[in-house]
């Protein structure tokens, strides 16, 4: 019965462009990634031994960057399933490969656990003794419970990620439409679980760096940044794949246009959330809330804040507004690469003022940690790319996605 719904002929026709052929430079991605990871790890070990505090902060930012990309990818794919989106099926596997690296990212999170005392003031033994607020928060903010939560977040995310990655891969072989139906049914509840866990994770890993501070909007802020980050990565990867001769006739300017629309829309959404969080705190002017923004509005951190307003919102907003920019590969990829960099700056700006309240102090360890974690991510993603086609070749609605046109 399944043969009737999605003839394998389309899959066969698509397959040629959708797999990395032998001898293609992208076959070397795992090796290149592993090389970078090794280089970065050695640099981290040498430089980090002299300055462990800096190492843990740099490593935290680097891991958060890739966690947020993977979580953003999960949101993207689950939203596509829940909304029964048609256009995005041809780019869905990029998301599936991104979040299928979550078990690797979980392993990369482990060094953070060894630096809890360096990173989080509440984790220092005796910190709560003279601090009423920390004592009050101690039932939640304590090391054992923090570890349990971190483990839980990664287990839940990896479980959802692998369920969707494996389901989609199985469909490549069987073409069974019931896989799509099942994954769609789980997408709604999955999104709720994802929203709750990513909110709590962002509070645990970023907000609790300043344990007195709180913002009820932070979870949405983390989501907005993650989503922009993943869509930016998606636009870069999709354009790079087309240039490398993969999927070059499958992904049309129509698909690029829609990726660009997502990028544009969520850039505005990020600004909306970021500003709403700032405005409420700034206007109420309560010391326990303003402390976080005060640290980021002093000295050279203010320059980074202005860079975020201009570079994460104003410039890309007007740049991505036009139609032509979104439909051409190079211009879309430029916008995506820029926003990916800005997403990193955003996370850096959230974390680093805790370590360097006196001002922006870039460190070689920042770059080393990024290369180490990024190398592992590229290696894992490159290895996954070689395991199957780069589009879900026998998704029942692939033909619809390929024929997609913006009205």
């Amino acid at each position: 019965m399944s043969e009737r719904f999605h003839p394998p002929t389309l899959a066969a026709a698509v397959m040629g462009q959708a797999t990395i052929p032998p001898g293609h430079p992208w076959n070397r991605l795992p090796v290149v990634g592993a090389g970078c990871a090794l280089l970065g790890a050695v640099a981290c070990a040498i430089l980090g031994a002299a300055n462990p505090k800096q190492f843990f902060f740099s490593w935290l930012v680097a891991v958060l960057f890739f966690v947020s990309l993977a979580v953003g990818a999960l949101f993207f794919v689950l939203i596509q399933y829940a909304s029964q989106g048609g256009w995005g099926i041809v780019v869905r596997r990029v998301g599936e490969i991104t979040f299928a690296t979550l078990p690797v990212i979980a392993a990369l999170f482990v060094p953070v656990l060894f630096g809890l005392r360096e990173l989080y003031p509440w984790a220092v033994p005796g910190a709560a003794d003279h601090d009423a607020l920390l004592r009050w928060k101690a039932p939640y903010l304590n090391v054992p419970f923090f570890l349990i939560r971190a483990a839980l977040f990664f287990v839940i995310w990896s479980f959802i990620a692998l369920a969707y990655y494996r389901g989609s891969r199985r469909q490549d072989l069987t073409g069974d439409p019931r896989v799509s139906a099942r994954l769609r049914r789980f997408a709604g509840p999955g999104l709720i679980v994802l929203a709750l866990t990513s909110t709590l994770a962002s509070v645990d890993w970023i907000v609790s760096l300043t344990p007195h501070w709180y913002s009820t909007m932070f979870g949405v802020y983390f989501f907005a940044g993650s989503f922009v980050g993943f869509i930016a990565l998606l636009s870069v990867v999709v354009v790079a794949m087309r240039r490398a001769g993969l999927l070059d006739t499958l992904i049309s300017p129509e698909h690029l246009h829609d990726v660009g629309k997502f990028l544009f829309a969520f850039t505005a959404f990020w600004a909306y959330i970021a500003f709403s969080q700032f405005l409420l705190i700034w206007y109420a002017n309560l010391p326990e809330e303003t402390i976080w923004f005060k640290a980021r509005m002093q000295g050279s951190w203010m320059a980074v804040s202005v860079l975020l307003i201009m570079g994460h919102f104003v410039a890309p907003f007007f740049y991505l507004m036009g139609r032509t920019v979104k439909r051409k590969g190079p211009t879309l990829a430029l916008g995506g690469a820029w926003l990916l960099a800005m997403h990193f700056v955003d996370l850096y700006w959230q974390v680093m003022p805790t370590l360097h309240p006196e001002g922006l102090r870039p460190s070689v360890l920042d770059a080393a940690a990024l290369v180490a974690v990024g190398g592992c991510f590229v290696a894992a993603a490159g290895w996954l790319m070689r395991r199957q086609a780069l589009v879900p070749v026998r998704d029942p609605r692939l033909a619809e996605s390929l024929a997609f046109e913006n009205a």
């Binding site: 700032f278 700034w282 002017n285 139609r323 046109e405 009205a407």
Partner: protein
């Protein structure tokens, strides 16, 4: 009122209406009418036909530019009003903040931008479509009633520089029109 309700040019005839049986016939006829150099003409279908705008050789609508200009105007107006009220006309200290509390102005600036952009989109669309028009000569045709059902039409207006009542009618017939009629103004 006459200014607000767009009028068609004066003349004894509105133009020629040709009926086609299928979207494919219409699509191919549109390409030929476009290539014949007509500029004042339109196609009418019961449902959107993908790619018809290319077959008709339509340029992109200037509407996005109207919306952008209106949105920016709205932003300037929204911000300007608050600046004038709070910093110029009625400078009051509110919760210890400076007069020019620009972060507090952003929500209103944003809302007024949206309002102006939306008004620009709706009114610009109406203007570019020459609406509201209380009556249109196309509605004189009985055949045209099927435009919302199962028939496809091309109308060429008599003020098109290439319009010629008999030659244009023959052209449309040669393109496979099921019926061709000359409509009075």
């Amino acid at each position: 009122m006459a200014l607000l309700i767009p009028q068609l040019p004066k003349g004894p005839y509105y133009g020629i209406l040709a009926e086609f049986a299928t979207p494919t016939d219409l699509y191919q006829a549109c390409e030929r009418v476009r290539d014949a150099g007509f500029t004042r003409w339109d196609a009418h279908t019961p449902f959107p036909v993908h790619g018809l705008e290319r077959a008709m050789g339509l340029r992109r609508s200037p509407l996005p530019w109207i919306v952008l200009v209106m949105g920016l105007t709205g932003a300037a107006a929204g911000f300007g009003l608050q600046w004038w009220v709070h910093a110029r006309a009625y400078p009051l200290v509110i919760s210890g903040k400076p007069y020019l509390t620009w972060p507090a102005f952003i929500p209103i600036t944003f809302e007024v931008s949206i309002l102006f952009a939306a008004l620009g989109a709706v009114l610009g669309m109406l203007g570019l479509n020459r609406l509201p028009m209380l009556h249109h000569p196309l509605f004189r045709s009985r055949v045209f009633e099927r435009v919302s059902d199962d028939a496809f039409f091309i109308s060429i207006e008599s003020w098109d520089p290439r319009f010629d009542a008999s030659a244009t009618g023959k052209l449309l017939e040669s393109l496979g029109a099921r019926s061709v009629e000359l409509l009075e103004s």
